[in-house]
């Protein structure tokens, strides 16, 4: 029986595709240059239009830049940051968790204590120090986010690996003569993908927030490039006077987080062999 | 005499498929009726439907259950709660899974009485003793993991029996146990039926167990009852080809070692692909065009012996 894709999921997928398309197509669909300032057109409300500059569908920001264009381009940055940093931490964290769960003994002690150590260093400290040591850039940002988040994946992967490693099919693979790498990657990894996926999808939204937090502290995406986080953190000064600066990116963020989470839960259900047939 | 339990024309749907279709039977007080059939044929679902504890995915769209003549389908959930555990109770397939691992044995048994363990302690102790648990005063405050599988199964039984229900549904109560413990539990069930007149529905696919304690047997195949009758009669002369093949598949003491065992060719169809007509037709050596077209209904082929086969008389 083919699993039925519900209407809700179709909508969610459609939304995610829309977001991704908006981010990808930003250069073509943006009404304005997201960096083009006009100090005379600061903080114009949504729908403002001038003869010379044209329409600003979502208004302008505190340097007179078109908010819609900035949100579209910002989606790009936020998406890429989230995807890359989730990927980095997912890969690093999972590999370490797999290794710890499979080899146990001192390998596990070493890795898991390191995880503890990492978790007990405030993330913000690591972030600031990394930026200070290797200098600010997009790559740094991704590294910072990736490097501070991997311990979570390690914990999840470790616990799941311990569980799966005890199952007979792993022993069967050993009997077949498979080496550790094969067992880890071909046998264990696909079977712990579910929980990791759930973590990864909720981290996805968190990463966008985290970048926003770093922007708030002045360490996020380098200005003037927009990201949802930097748009919002710059806009919070104008919460009352120019609500559009925070509300629109906030809405985008909320919708995206909802979509990704729902997707994640759905994917997890699909990956779960117990529910696959139902 | 009204039967202690009667199931009428039960139909259960999952998605669009009728996983249980037209199942009906009755059990008299003191009678042990075995419900047998291959794995997945709907035995447990039938039991859950009787208790009105069907999983969310399953819907009952026809049929009703009567307990001592009372139709249960008219009861509210609140009223039904008073029936469960008091007038009718159930033993679950895997004792370790059916006991809350984090709650003491005594507390769970006491739940059957509806009062907390402090008040019901004496009753619980007596019940544990009755199901043959040695040193109940110590066991009562232990957790399920501190007990062996057999003891857990007996705790399950104790919790099902403490309110002295008239009907007991035992869903594979011994599958997980080894033969010596199994023998002890079957003994206990037998005593219950004889001494207390409890009506027992025993779900199993172990024909040995059936032979041991059942008075009557209902054989299910693919969600339908294929045959029902007295145990002796069915073992002596099955009137449904499925039953016959099932019995033939058992290794017996009298077989030559390593001789070929009879097998049933093919596999059980999935509920979504149940054929029209007789559901066993695809695997049946006697099947003909009629079997594939028309659903055979249960009919009496001997006294008290019913079979849902067009060729009941031809079965050997």
């Amino acid at each position: 029986m083919r699993p039925r894709v519900s209407f809700g999921i179709r909508v969610i997928v459609l939304l995610i595709v829309l977001f991704a398309a908006a981010a990808l197509l930003a250069p073509w669909i943006s009404p304005h240059d997201p960096l083009r300032q006009s100090l005379l057109l600061r903080l114009k409300p949504p729908g403002s239009a001038t003869a010379s500059a044209g329409l600003f569908p979502l208004g302008t920001d505190d340097l007179g830049r078109d908010l819609l264009s900035r949100i579209l381009y910002g989606a790009r940055a936020s998406f890429i940051v989230a995807i890359l940093s989730v990927s980095v931490s997912l890969v690093v964290g999972t590999l370490l968790g797999l290794a710890a769960g499979w080899f146990r003994g001192w390998t596990a002690t070493l890795i898991m204590r390191f995880v503890d150590a990492m978790l007990s260093v405030p993330a913000i400290l690591l972030a600031v120090l990394t930026v200070a040591v290797i200098g600010p850039s997009f790559v740094t940002l991704v590294l910072v986010l990736g490097l501070t988040r991997w311990p979570r994946y390690t914990r999840v992967a470790y616990a799941a690996t311990l569980q799966v490693a005890g199952l007979p099919f792993i022993a069967a693979a050993e009997m077949a003569g498979a080496d550790s790498a094969r067992i880890l990657l071909r046998h264990i990894l696909p079977n712990i993908a579910g929980p990791l996926l759930v973590v990864a999808t909720s981290e996805f939204g968190l990463m966008i927030l985290f970048e926003a937090g770093l922007s708030f502290l002045g360490l996020g995406i380098q200005p003037p490039a927009p990201s949802w986080g930097s748009i919002m953190s710059a806009g919070r000064q104008y919460v009352e006077r120019a609500w559009w600066l925070t509300v629109f990116p906030g809405l985008g963020l909320f919708t995206l987080v909802v979509c990704v989470n729902v997707m994640g839960d759905w994917l997890r259900d699909r990956l779960d062999p117990r529910s696959a047939g139902r | 005499m009204t039967p202690a339990l009667a199931v009428h024309d039960l139909r259960l749907l999952i998605g669009g498929a009728a996983v249980v279709d037209g199942v009906g039977f009755a059990v008299a007080p003191g009678e042990v009726m075995a419900l047998v059939g291959e794995s997945g044929c709907g035995k447990s679902l039938t039991a859950h439907a009787i208790m009105r504890l069907l999983p969310d995915a399953v819907r009952q769209d026809r049929g009703y259950v009567a307990l001592d003549g009372d139709n249960l389908s008219v009861l509210s959930e609140r009223q039904m709660r008073l029936v469960r555990g008091r007038r009718m109770s159930m033993i679950f397939q895997e004792p370790q899974a059916a006991l809350d691992p984090l709650s003491t044995v005594g507390a769970q048994v006491a739940e059957g009485t509806g009062s907390p363990l402090r008040q019901a302690r004496a009753a619980v102790l007596a019940m544990l003793d009755e199901v043959g648990i040695a040193d109940p005063a110590r066991r009562i405050d232990q957790y399920p993991f501190e007990l062996s599988g057999g003891m857990c199964q007996r705790v399950m039984i104790a919790s099902a029996l403490i309110a002295r229900p008239a009907v007991l549904i035992a869903d594979e109560p011994t599958t997980a146990l080894d033969v010596t413990i199994q023998a002890q539990i079957l003994d206990l069930l037998r005593r219950l039926a004889i001494e207390r007149g409890t009506a027992i529905v025993l779900i199993t696919h172990d024909m040995g167990v059936v032979a041991d304690i059942a008075d009557r047997v209902a054989v299910m195949y693919a969600g339908r009852i294929a045959e029902t009758g007295d145990t002796a009669a069915i073992f002596a002369r099955p009137r449904h080809p499925y039953t016959a093949l099932l019995l033939a598949a058992l290794p017996r003491r009298t077989d030559v070692p390593r001789s070929r065992l009879a097998v049933i060719e093919g596999r059980v169809p999935a509920p979504s692909e149940f054929p029209t007509g007789c559901r066993f037709a695809g695997r049946c050596p006697l099947a003909d065009a009629r079997c594939r077209a028309e659903t055979p209904l249960l009919r009496e082929v001997a006294r008290g012996h019913l079979s849902a086969c067009w060729h009941a008389e031809a079965v050997r």
């Binding site: 340097l63 600031v128 002045g218 000064q237 | -």
Partner: protein, 483 residues
């Protein structure tokens, strides 16, 4: 309800929102704005500045140079510390020696290290000696608070920092670290009764929160409003915006030693590309004053006649083309401390004339390390807000542009000669001419572009009467409450 009561009764407690808690309350250890705002109300200084910015007596009544390196101060005799002991010349001499003692490790040492010694030379007299003629000495001494010798020696430096005591109008009641400092008035203070029985300085790091505090009545006075906030608050009746031009100059550093900006044409083009007028009107909402150089009118040595480069993007573009720097990538170092919008606006303006500016944001220590590092590390541009707290050109253009100074990424012997000469004499007229010449050289070489004179903006309850001063001092003594 509470507002109603407050209006009926005299105001007893003033609540002030600062951005941060005091780092130290020992006046000789830290002089970051927030610490300074608080402890200056607990201590008297040798000298101070009046509202107009003139250096006037405080503990000292008068002073005169006996020679170029010796300065004699006559002191008041009627000042008492909070514990009732008298403030003596010994305390003054002790305060000077304490801050210049290397073992004390005062970060402020560099402001006072020209002082060679301090002696008590009379019952109400102290004599200071400097290593060489030092024209900025008085300006620096404005920052010298007088601490009680006996008390400090009894408690030791560490405990003194926790239980500081001075002779000022307010004494410390409680210091909840990270939260607030509460001061109580000294009713018999020698300059008169302080206006509020107590003052609370709260640490509220977030700007919008400070505004919310003010509007909700949780604070009476808040510091650090942005021009946009000030503009928005102007229309509110519950709030009054106070502002004052400071001695702080907003400028743009231009690296004259490395990268594309090593070419003077590029630097001039940058000076012509920046539309300071619209920065002031549109971004600063008028809360800024144009300057003609990297100096403000509040500084000694400022000269209004220096002609700044005009805003001329066409010419700028031409210059950049001539220098072959079209499309050149230049880095713009910055840290969260500086106004993001200003950076981005400048970036845009330079992009308009053909320079590709890359903003590099880093935390303040890293920013400082790079900005003060080698010319190659220092980036092509960076925003700066400079205040020497001495209101003298010597404290601004000397450290910024004198070759050999850590900030300077510029070298011109002619300039060096002028600023050195201005430093070596006490004659104000001579100094002025030297500075005028130095400023002319800077105009041609453009190692920096003066953007505007920064304005300090405060938000206050309308009842608070106070005139903020250019040196950003925060004297509660000068405030009053008019219900």
């Amino acid at each position: 309800l509470s507002a109603h009561h407050a209006a009926a009764q005299p105001k007893t407690e003033l609540t002030v929102d600062l951005a941060a808690d005091a780092a130290t309350l020992d006046p000789q250890l830290q002089w970051d704005t927030d610490s300074y705002s608080i402890y200056r109300n607990m201590f008297d200084n040798l000298l101070t500045r009046d509202v107009a910015g003139k250096i006037v007596p405080q503990v000292a009544t008068a002073w005169h140079y006996t020679n170029d390196t010796t300065l004699v101060f006559d002191l008041r005799t009627d000042i008492k510390f909070h514990d009732g002991t008298k403030l003596t010349p010994e305390d003054v001499a002790f305060s000077v020696k304490r801050i210049v003692d290397p073992a004390f490790k005062s970060p402020q040492l560099s402001q006072f290290d020209q002082i060679a010694g301090a002696e008590v030379t009379g019952p109400a007299q102290v004599t200071l000696r400097t290593k060489s003629p030092y024209p900025a000495l008085l300006a620096q001494l404005v920052k010298l608070s007088i601490v009680p010798k006996a008390y400090v020696e009894k408690l030791g430096d560490v405990r003194f920092n926790q239980e500081p005591m001075g002779s000022g109008p307010y004494k410390l009641r409680a210091w909840q670290r990270g939260v607030q400092v509460t001061l109580d008035a000294m009713p018999d203070y020698w300059r008169g009764k302080p206006p509020f029985a107590s003052v609370v300085f709260r640490a509220v790091p977030d700007g919008p929160t400070r505004i919310a505090d003010l509007r909700a009545g949780r604070a009476d006075l808040i510091r650090g409003l942005s021009p946009d906030d000030a503009e928005a608050l102007k229309s509110e009746r519950q709030v009054r915006v106070l502002s004052v031009p400071t001695e702080r100059v907003a400028y743009m550093f231009v690296n004259a030693l490395a990268g594309p900006t090593a070419d003077v044409r590029v630097r001039r083009a940058i000076a012509m590309a920046v539309d300071r007028e619209s920065l002031i009107t549109a971004l600063q909402q008028g809360f800024a004053k144009p300057v003609n150089e990297v100096l403000t009118p509040a500084n000694f040595g400022y000269d209004a006649d220096v002609k700044p480069w005009p805003f001329d993007p066409v010419q700028a573009r031409a210059l950049i083309k001539a220098a072959g720097a079209e499309g050149a990538k230049i880095s713009f170092l910055t840290s969260p401390v500086y106004d993001r919008r200003l950076n981005e606006a400048i970036q845009q303006m330079l992009a308009d004339v053909g320079l590709q500016v890359e903003i590099q944001m880093m935390d303040q220590p890293t920013y400082l390390r790079r900005r003060q590092g080698t010319p190659v590390e220092a980036g092509a541009l960076s925003q700066g807000r400079w205040s020497c707290a001495c209101q003298d050109a010597d404290g601004v253009i000397f450290p910024l542009f004198r070759s050999g100074s850590i900030w300077s990424k510029y070298s011109n012997p002619a300039f060096d000669t002028e600023v050195d000469a201005a430093r070596a004499t006490l004659d104000e007229a001579v100094r002025k001419t030297h500075y005028r010449r130095a400023l002319d050289i800077l105009r041609e070489d453009v190692p920096g572009v003066g953007l505007f004179q920064d304005v300090a903006i405060y938000g206050a309850k309308p009842q608070l009467k106070w005139t903020p001063t250019a040196n950003e001092a925060f004297f509660v003594m000068d405030m009053a409450w008019q219900p």
